[in-house]
């Protein structure tokens, strides 16, 4: 069942970190598994897969704005582009 997948993914995540894989690989893998787990919970446990498409807009809109918002902060707070200019 879905739970099995969630269990497996988590164990994979912990294992990978404890085993000490290279950093780039870890980050990519962890972002993917976290995303996968979140999607599994949302689609199945929260029933989104079986609801009408329109309901997807409800969590979709804040996620979209959230990404835009965080993205707009990158030039200043992350890349410190002004100091480097």
């Amino acid at each position: 069942m879905i739970y099995g997948w969630l269990l497996g993914l988590t164990l994979l995540e912990v294992g990978v970190v404890m085993a000490g894989w290279p950093r780039g690989a870890i980050v990519t893998l962890l972002m993917s598994t976290a995303l996968a787990k979140a999607l599994l919970i949302a689609l199945y446990f929260m029933h989104l897969k079986f609801d009408r498409r329109a309901v997807w807009w409800l969590p979709g809109i804040p996620l979209l704005f959230g990404i835009i918002f965080v993205g707009a902060l990158f030039p200043d707070v992350v890349w410190h582009l002004v100091q480097r200019m």
């Binding site: 918002f69 707009a72 902060l73 030039p75 002004v82």
Partner: protein, 574 residues
């Protein structure tokens, strides 16, 4: 139908779940804080007009330590609390809390909001939050003094502003945020899900569209500022350094600019939150009192929708001089200027509604027309502020203050009065005095323009914001007499509001009884009695047309249709 047992007084009027009672609670709270915020404004203007002179009459009471004069420590508290109170504890309760709560269920044809108990909770959160704010005046160190914008590092460090008044302000704000979020859930759900049969979105009154978009913006962006506020509290009291850097910070890594992004990420949508209900209300009232359908209804709704989306991605225009990346600044500039397009569209639609209409110059209509006038000025000056290059010159000057007061203190305030004068008969079943209302409007209009138009020119001259004494600067001495002028005009504005208070209070008890529909308005709320029955509608009403069917040429009896009139089913329009 079982007979309902009569609830005890405290369940009917204090802890009521009835949206109409809750709306009136919001209204009274909001009006009280409007008066308090206005008093602060007068103190600010006195200080600027006559720096360090004792305030007449009330000075000794308020500023005992300095013989009645405003002190340098008290001045920041004045402008902080003036801004914070007006935005969060006056306008929001009146326009979102009262207008929203009262009109939404009535206009969609529902018996109450979707979640009445949540509704009641939302008012009490506001009550507690506003009480905390009042307490903050009394603690050692006094009320908050970091500006309503709560910028770090001033707000985040207890070295400069150690008093608990700062924390109480933030806490009061946080509770108010929770209140508004609860309200938002109710408004969005009720408008979208509880409409009466036949009330398609195409037939929704514009007021409700404004309230809907406003609630959407609140739901999306209030949590952002809530997270920022909690982080400020942690910085102040728990030794963290999210927004502190350099010598003030206990450890490295904090980003001061992050606070501004978080704050304005909310702060910009907030100003649209405040004005969207007014835009909707004006759209409806122009139609009612020009006896014409709202011109370009669909375009107006789509414009408001476009502005709602855009408002979330333009916040950087408050930060052009913050040291933010200029290229990102350009992106914000372009997006901000784009907002003027849908704004112009619905503004022109307003004018289109008025064109060749049979205008009825009632008091609500006077205030509505007032909104149109002052919003034109406020909106146009917004374009100047939006340009990165121009803004670098006028940032933190009175030009900005003039701009946002034209859009807030003028447009939103007039919208508030339009709301109260228009809906008062429905809410209380009595009429307000027309003569007093007309006098209130004209006095307010004259003094308001006197105060804020002069501010624009002061700003162009370079007069900075938030300074307590312009005469301390050589280049401002020549314009100091304008500060005196504004001070007296502001006093005139303040005294004019007494006309409103007298009218409001008198009419509450002694106003003439009013018929169900004194304005010949077509929307659902006006089909029930004034005041409405306890549960609004015994059965859900059937809707056959939009709310703006005025001046219908094909009718034989009368010239306008209520939304529930079956004759409307034969109309060619939807």
């Amino acid at each position: 139908m079982t007979t309902e047992t009569r609830l005890p007084f405290w369940r009917r009027y204090i802890f009521s779940t009835n949206h109409k009672v809750i709306a009136v609670q919001y209204l009274f709270t909001g009006i009280t804080f409007l008066a308090l915020g206005g008093l602060m404004a007068l103190l600010i203007r006195w200080q600027l007009a006559y720096p360090w002179q004792p305030v007449p009459f009330i000075g000794k009471l308020l500023f005992a330590g300095s013989g009645g004069a405003v002190t340098p420590e008290a001045y920041p508290m004045l402008f902080t609390m003036h801004g914070g109170i007006m935005v969060f504890f006056a306008i929001t309760p009146i326009l979102l809390g009262a207008l929203g709560n009262y009109t939404i269920p009535l206009e969609v044809g529902a018996r109450d909001m979707a979640f009445p108990k949540l509704n009641m909770l939302s008012y009490w959160f506001l009550f507690v939050g506003s009480s905390i704010l009042l307490v903050s005046f009394l603690v050692p160190g006094g009320a908050a003094g970091f500006g309503w914008t709560i910028y770090a590092p001033l707000s985040a460090s207890t070295e400069v502003l150690p008093g608990w008044g700062q924390d109480l302000f933030i806490l009061g704000l946080a509770l108010d945020a929770v209140s508004i979020l609860m309200g938002g859930v109710n408004y969005i759900t009720t408008i979208m899900q509880l409409r009466a049969p036949g009330l398609t979105l195409r037939r929704l009154p514009l007021t409700l569209w404004g309230l809907f978009f406003s609630a959407v913006l609140n739901t999306l962006w209030l949590p952002i500022v809530a997270s920022a506020l909690f982080m400020v509290l942690c910085d102040r009291r728990l030794g963290t350094a999210f927004f502190l850097a350099g010598p003030l910070a206990p450890h490295t890594g904090g980003q001061v600019l992050l606070f501004q992004h978080l704050f304005w990420g909310f702060g910009h949508p907030e100003v649209y939150i405040l004005i969207l209900p007014v835009w909707g209300l004006v759209g409806d009232l122009l139609s009612v009192f020009a006896r014409k359908p709202a011109f370009g209804y669909k375009a107006t709704v789509w414009s408001m929708f476009a502005i709602t989306i855009l408002s979330g991605i333009v916040w950087g225009h408050h930060m052009f001089t913050s040291g933010m990346n200029p290229l990102v600044g350009k992106a914000f500039m372009v997006l901000t200027v784009t907002v003027s397009v849908p704004t112009a569209i619905f503004f022109l639609n307003w004018l289109g509604t008025l064109w060749r209409g049979a205008i009825r110059l009632t008091v609500p209509m006077l205030f509505t027309l007032g909104v149109v006038f002052v919003f034109a000025i406020g909106g146009l000056t917004g374009l100047f502020n939006a340009l990165q290059t121009f803004d670098v010159y006028i940032h933190d000057t009175y030009f900005v203050v003039g701009h946002f007061h034209y859009t807030l203190a003028a447009s939103v305030l007039f919208g508030t009065f339009a709301f109260i004068y228009f809906w008062f008969p429905k809410i209380f079943g009595r009429q307000m005095n027309t003569r007093l209302g007309q006098l209130h409007f004209w006095c307010s209009f004259v003094f308001l323009n006197a105060v804020f138009s002069v501010m624009m020119f002061l700003g162009l001259h370079g007069h900075m914001r938030r300074i307590a004494d312009a005469t301390a600067y050589e280049f401002l001495k020549p314009v100091q007499h304008w500060n005196v002028f504004i001070g007296w005009a502001a006093l005139g504005l303040g005294l004019s509001q007494l006309l409103f208070f007298i009218n409001f209070l008198y009419s509450l008890f002694k106003g003439a009884p009013t018929p169900a529909n004194p304005w010949d308005a077509g929307s659902l709320a006006w089909t029930v009695s004034s005041p409405p029955p306890e549960h609004n509608y015994a059965t859900p009403p059937r809707v056959f047309c939009g709310p703006h069917e005025y001046g219908v040429p094909s009718l034989t009896n009368g010239d306008w249709l209520s939304q529930t009139d079956p004759q409307a089913a034969k109309l060619a329009r939807s």
